[in-house]
Amino acid sequence: MNWLTFALVFWIGAWGLNSLLANSGWRDTRAVRVFVPVLFGVTLLVIWEGLVRGFNVSPVILPAPSTVAQTFARSTGLLWGDFHQTVVKGALTGYAIGASAAFVAAILIDRSAFLTRGLLPIGNFVAALPIIGIAPILVSWFGFDWQSKAAVVVVMVFFPILVNTVQGLREADAMQRDLMRTYAAGYMQTLLKLRLPAAMPFIFNGLKIATTLALIGAIVAEYFGSPTRGMGFRISTGVGSLSIDLVWAEIFVAALAGTAFYGIVVWIERAMTFWHPSQRK
């Protein structure tokens, strides 16, 4: 019960400190803004560790974070191989192909107001569908290796990015377009200098939504057949052989990859759309 009391005391202490900080004069400083959520995360880990040790939970059901950390440190080579197979080869390739295809398709469709009106409702509908279900079909079309995973990712990211880009391209208002016309700007010039920059916040919104979808697609596709490496493969076999600590280490890698991927896209967005009101400080 010692561990339980410690977890409880830590929780109360951390909560007290956090509420003190959040209501103090420094609450808008950068340090506090980072420290408060970090302490919250640490508290969750401590409670988890305390519960697992205090109640003697079997490691087959839920391993303690410390066990997971040890497993992670022990099997970095294996985890790196899985990461490379699933994220770099499967998810990133598919993401790049899907995003470029959606971008090109959006610019082509945008030339016709008629097609745009027809496509937006359909695109929005398709974006709400459980597209992940086509994973087994694409795996049987493209084989077990990363190509089929990339294909699943392409299909999953295509529609969100397409819909957002098409919507963004309509963002420049009539006044601005008229101004471009008084400058005698052609279609390409208007597109490059006015409409694409105006569409950037929307495009990045689509790109951000697609980061998570890309990882989900790549991992789920591996449940339907993969070479003997990859995060999805390791998770499904790890669950089968009850090496749950390795599964948690793999989930940790997935979480890290997902957050980093998202973070990178947000970082590029900040650099490219610094002029947009939502980015101003």
Binding site: L39, F114, R117, I122, P130, I219, Y223, S236, V247, G258
Partner: protein
């Protein structure tokens, strides 16, 4: 209404492309089968055909293109084949009185719908409670919000097989529970974000007005913040229910489930019956469309009753 014609055009284009893709996708298998049945194929051996592009195969064997549209186990079925299979496993079974047998997609859709709705209810409740806590407590806002965002960048599907194994080890044999948990995880976030926005949407002047009426904090919540958050709530509910359905299907996919639309997809994959996969996919799409449309209608009626939208 002015969108009907464009939408139909785009649909027609998509279906046209689909039909055009069927022949090249299926031609290799069709030719192999035709040869086994004794037909003359150019080039003659299967190995030689592997070297040739599908287009050339179609040009050299025009007689067999028709067969690609009527295979029993096509790589890519035609829309009509999918529709027929869907009808066979739903409408026809209802007509013969077996609408709820475990071979009927209606039964499987019902299983999926149950988990989806449980997950949706759970996720929505968590999302709304979380939003209220975030709006009223600065500590919760500062500590919870970043993690809520991070939680969505974590591919939950990685957790799906484990949630199911753990819950079965804890003695929960009912598969609805783990699937609902996955659904709730995917659907709480849009609700949380939407409700935070909605609860914060009243203008300062409005909040000040309530203060001049000597309204308590709780009254301000009930009479101002909650009603003004309703439009935001419905928008996020529509995103949330779609996410909940995805969650349920993902929960059924990798885990050897036997009932539910995801399980039909899995079983179709294992038994090599692509038509079953496509029919289950189509049923899932219809289910998603129906759920979103239902919420959309509820939104319109509610907002009109509340006087927010003409």
């Amino acid at each position: 209404m002015r969108n009907v014609l464009p939408v139909l055009t785009v649909l027609a284009v998509i279906i046209g492309l689909w039909y055009a893709a069927v022949a090249p996708m299926n031609i290799r298998v069709t030719l192999d089968q035709a040869q086994r049945a004794g037909a003359q194929i150019v080039p003659e051996t299967a190995r030689e055909r592997q070297q040739v592009s599908v287009w050339l195969l179609m040009v050299r064997n025009p007689a067999h293109i028709v067969e690609t549209y009527a295979m029993s186990r096509p790589r890519l079925p035609t829309p009509v084949q999918v529709g027929t299979e869907l009808w066979k496993t739903t409408g026809e079974m209802v007509l013969s009185g077996r609408g709820f047998s475990n071979r009927s997609l209606i039964y499987h859709a019902w299983i999926t719908l149950q988990s989806t709705l449980w997950g949706f209810a759970l996720g929505t409740t968590l999302g709304i409670l979380g939003a209220v806590a975030i709006v009223y407590s600065r500590v919760v806002d500062m500590s919870l919000m970043p993690w809520a965002i991070i939680s969505q960048t974590v591919p939950i599907v990685a957790l799906a097989p484990m949630i199911i194994v753990v819950s079965s080890q804890l003695g929960i044999t009912d598969r609805t529970v783990p699937k609902a948990i996955i659904s709730a995880y995917l659907c709480y976030f849009p609700v949380l974000v939407g409700m935070v926005k909605g609860l914060r949407s009243p203008a300062h002047a409005q909040l000040d007005l309530l203060q001049t009426y000597n309204a308590s904090g709780f009254q301000a919540f009930l009479k101002l913040r909650l009603p003004s958050s309703v439009p935001y709530l419905f928008t996020s509910l529509k995103v949330g229910i779609a996410a909940a359905l995805v969650g349920t299907i993902v929960g059924e996919l990798p885990t050897g489930a036997v009932s539910g639309l995801g399980a039909r997809i899995l079983i179709g994959d294992q038994f090599g019956t692509p038509l079953a996969i496509w029919a289950a996919l189509m049923a899932a799409a219809i289910l998603a469309g129906a759920l979103v449309t239902l919420l959309d209608m509820t939104q319109r009626i509610t907002l009109r009753r509340m006087g927010m939208q003409a």
